[in-house]
C-alpha cells in the first residue's frame, strides 16, 4: 500500500528535511509540495492525498485554519517551530505533531503511526479533530475566521462581523457586504470572541457592540437592538441585561 502525501510549509528548508527523511519510506509517495495555506487547501481538494505534512504558521491561512475547512481531512502530521498554546494542546491529542527541528527517529515514529492508521480500514478521523478542538481552548480570542463557500475560501476578520446568527447546526456571520456560513455553534463563538465587544443578546444572536446603532422597544416587554446595517434583532431579557452591563447603560 502506498500513501500519497503532500507537503505544506512556507519554508523551503523545512520541506527539504521532510523530503529527505521520506526517501527511506517506500510506502510514501510525495505528490505535491506547496508553500502557503490557500494553495495547500486547493492541493488537498484536487489531489485528495492520504497524508499531509502541515506547518502551522503560514501566510494567509494557517495550518489550523486550513484543517477546519476540510470536510474529510486526510491524515495530518503537524509541524510547528513554537507555539505556546499548540504545544500544550498537542500533548493532549494528535495523530502526530513534530516540533521543529525534529530528529529522523521522531519523524519515523510519526510516519509509522500514520501508516498504521491508514492501513486500519475504519480509520477514525477523530484524532485530528480533537486536536483542533483542544487548540480552540487557547485563552486568546479569535481575530479572524476562515470560511468557505462553494467557490472560494475567505478569511473574515472578526472586527468586520456585524452580528452572528444561529442557523441550525451552523452560524451565519453577517458582515457589511456578505454573509458566511460557518460550521460551529453559538456557544463556541460566545466563548471565543471578546465578551466586552461581542454580546450574546439572544439564543440566536451575538452582536458586535461596535455596530450597534440604537436600542428600542420590540414590543411592550422586549427590547430590540438595531444594527448599523439596518438589521433589527430581538434581545432576550437576559441578553438585554448583559447588554446594559457591557455598554454601561
Amino acid at each position: 500500500m502506498i500513501l500519497r502525501a503532500i507537503l505544506i510549509d512556507d519554508e523551503q528548508p523545512a520541506r527539504d528535511v521532510v523530503k529527505h527523511y521520506l526517501k527511506d519510506f517506500n510506502e510514501i509517495e510525495i505528490i505535491g509540495e506547496v508553500a502557503d495555506g490557500f494553495s495547500g487547501l486547493k492541493a488537498i481538494q484536487e489531489l485528495k492525498p492520504d497524508l499531509v505534512f502541515l506547518d502551522v504558521q503560514m501566510p494567509k491561512l494557517t495550518g489550523l485554519e486550513l484543517l477546519e475547512l476540510l470536510d474529510q481531512p486526510p491524515l495530518i502530521i503537524f509541524s510547528t517551530a513554537y507555539d505556546q498554546y499548540a504545544i500544550k494542546a498537542f500533548e493532549m491529542n494528535a495523530i502526530d505533531y513534530l516540533l521543529k527541528p525534529y530528529s529522523k527517529e521522531r519523524f519515523t515514529q510519526a510516519v509509522q503511526k500514520a501508516i498504521s492508521q491508514a492501513s486500519n480500514v475504519n480509520r477514525p478521523a477523530q484524532p485530528v479533530h480533537n486536536l483542533v478542538k483542544t487548540l480552540d481552548e487557547s485563552p486568546e480570542f479569535l481575530q479572524r475566521i476562515a470560511v468557505k463557500s462553494r467557490h472560494k475560501v475567505s478569511v473574515v476578520p472578526v472586527e468586520e462581523i456585524i452580528f452572528l446568527e444561529a442557523e441550525g447546526d451552523y452560524v451565519m456571520l453577517h458582515t457589511k457586504d456578505a454573509k458566511h456560513l460557518k460550521e460551529k455553534t453559538m456557544k463556541y463563538f460566545e466563548s471565543h470572541l471578546d465578551p466586552g465587544q461581542y454580546i450574546r443578546i439572544h439564543r440566536s444572536y451575538i452582536v458586535n457592540a461596535k455596530f450597534i446603532d440604537r436600542i428600542e422597544y420590540y414590543d411592550k416587554e422586549n427590547y430590540a437592538v438595531l444594527m448599523k446595517n439596518g438589521a433589527k434583532l430581538r434581545a432576550s431579557n437576559t441578553g438585554y441585561k448583559i447588554l446594559k452591563q457591557v455598554l454601561n447603560m
Binding site: D10, E11, Q12, P13, A14, D16, V17, H20, A35, D36, F38, S39, Q57, P59, K60, A81, Y82, L99, K100, P101, Q143, R144, V155, P157
Partner: protein
C-alpha cells in the same frame, strides 16, 4: 507649585493657629506683665501680628523665586537682606504711626513704642528667618519627592523595555525555525549550515549583550541587521529581498543599541510572514549635520488580516527614544498603498559609553 499654606484646611489652620498663639502671648505680656490697659494691649498685639501674618503669606513668593543654585548664591543672599530690611521698615513703621496716633497721648505706651523698636527688629528678623526656612524646607521636600517619583518611573520603564527587548530579541519562532533550517542545510548544504550557525551565534551574542541604555555605531547595528536578514533569507529564499542605501558619513553615527532590530523584525513579521509574494525591505540612511535620517519601508498586504501585533515593538522604540533623547518626535510611521514606512531622525548626542 501652589502656596503651601493654602494647600488644605490643615495647613491653613496650623498657620493661623500659630499666629493666634503668638498674638495671645504678645497680648498677655502687655496686659498681665506690663499692666497696660486691655484696649492698648489688644491693639498692639493685633496690629503687629496681623501685619506679619499677611507679610508671612506674601513671603512665600520671595522664597519661591529665590531658589539658590551654584551660580546665584550671593544674589539670593542680597535679595533676602533687601527684602528683610524692607519688611522690617514696613512692619515697624506702619504700626508705629498707627498706634502712636491712637494711643500716643498715653505716655508710658509712647515710651514703650520707642524703647521696643530694637526688640521688634530682632523678633521681625527671627520671624523672617524661621518662616523663610520653613518655606525652603517645604520646597526641597516636595522637589525631592517629585524627583524620587520620576526616577522610579524611569527605572520602571527601563526595566519594562528591557524585558520587552528580551522578549522580542529571542523570538522563539525565529530561533526554532532558524534551527530547523540549519538542520535541513546539514543535509543539503553543510557549508551553508556552518555559515548559518555562525551568523545565528553572532546575532544572539549581539542580542544578549544588549543593555538598552547603551549606544553603538550605526555600522555595528547595521551589521547585526544584515546577519538577521541573511538568516531569514535562508528560510524564505527569493521571497525576501533587501536593499540599503547609505548617503554621507552614516557609519560612525551613534545610535541606541538594538534600536533598528525591532523595526526589521516588524517588517519581516508583517511583510514576509504574511505574504505569498516577494517582499522587499529597503532602508535609506542619510547623514544631515546634526542628524541621522533613516527611512525603512517594506511591502505588506493590507488585506492579510494578520494576527494583530501587540504594537510593543513600536511603542517600545518610542519609549526608548523618549528616555534617551528626551523628545517624542523622532519616530513616525505611515502607510502608502502596500508599503509601510518608518521614519527615524536621530540627533547627534554626546555619548560617553559605547560598545564595540
Amino acid at each position: 507649585m501652589n502656596h503651601p499654606i493654602f494647600l488644605n484646611k490643615k495647613s491653613i489652620s496650623v498657620y493661623f493657629g500659630l499666629w493666634i498663639l503668638i498674638a495671645g502671648i504678645h497680648f498677655s505680656i502687655f496686659y498681665f506683665f506690663y499692666g497696660f490697659p486691655i484696649e492698648i494691649s489688644m491693639a498692639d498685639s493685633l496690629t503687629f501680628n496681623i501685619l506679619f501674618c499677611i507679610i508671612g503669606i506674601l513671603m512665600w513668593y520671595i522664597v519661591r523665586y529665590s531658589i539658590p543654585d551654584k551660580t546665584n548664591r550671593t544674589n539670593i543672599f542680597i535679595n533676602h537682606l533687601t527684602f528683610l530690611a524692607l519688611i522690617l521698615v514696613i512692619w515697624n513703621g506702619l504700626p508705629y504711626l498707627f498706634l502712636n496716633s491712637l494711643f500716643g497721648s498715653f505716655k508710658p505706651y509712647r515710651e514703650l513704642l520707642n524703647i521696643s523698636i530694637p526688640y521688634r527688629l530682632i523678633s521681625g528678623t527671627l520671624f523672617y528667618a524661621l518662616l523663610g526656612m520653613a518655606y525652603y524646607l517645604i520646597i526641597y521636600y516636595s522637589d525631592l519627592q517629585e524627583k524620587v517619583k520620576t526616577e522610579s518611573r524611569l527605572r520602571e520603564l527601563l526595566k519594562e523595555s528591557e524585558l520587552n527587548m528580551l522578549k522580542s530579541q529571542i523570538n522563539p519562532h525565529f530561533l526554532f525555525n532558524s534551527l530547523n533550517s540549519i538542520s535541513s542545510l546539514t543535509i543539503t548544504n553543510p557549508e551553508k549550515a556552518r555559515d548559518m550557525v555562525i551568523k545565528l551565534s553572532d546575532f544572539l551574542r549581539y542580542s544578549v549583550s544588549t543593555n538598552i541604555s547603551r549606544f553603538t555605531t550605526f555600522q555595528n547595528e547595521l551589521a547585526n541587521i544584515k546577519r538577521y536578514l541573511e538568516i531569514e533569507k535562508v528560510r524564505f529564499g527569493e521571497k525576501l529581498q533587501f536593499e540599503f542605501i547609505l548617503e554621507g558619513p552614516c557609519k560612525d553615527h551613534k545610535i541606541p543599541l538594538m534600536l533598528l532590530q525591532p523595526l526589521f523584525e516588524n517588517a519581516i513579521k508583517h511583510g514576509v510572514y504574511e505574504s505569498t509574494e516577494q517582499v522587499k525591505i529597503e532602508m535609506d540612511c542619510k547623514y544631515i549635520p546634526g542628524y541621522l535620517e533613516i527611512i525603512i519601508w517594506n511591502d505588506f498586504d493590507p488585506n492579510a488580516h494578520a494576527r494583530k501585533g501587540t504594537g510593543l515593538g513600536l511603542k517600545n522604540i518610542r519609549e526608548r527614544l523618549r528616555l534617551l533623547y528626551k523628545t517624542d518626535t523622532l519616530l513616525r510611521t505611515s502607510v502608502e498603498g502596500t508599503k509601510f514606512f518608518v521614519f527615524l531622525s536621530l540627533p547627534n548626542i554626546e555619548i560617553k559609553e559605547t560598545i564595540d
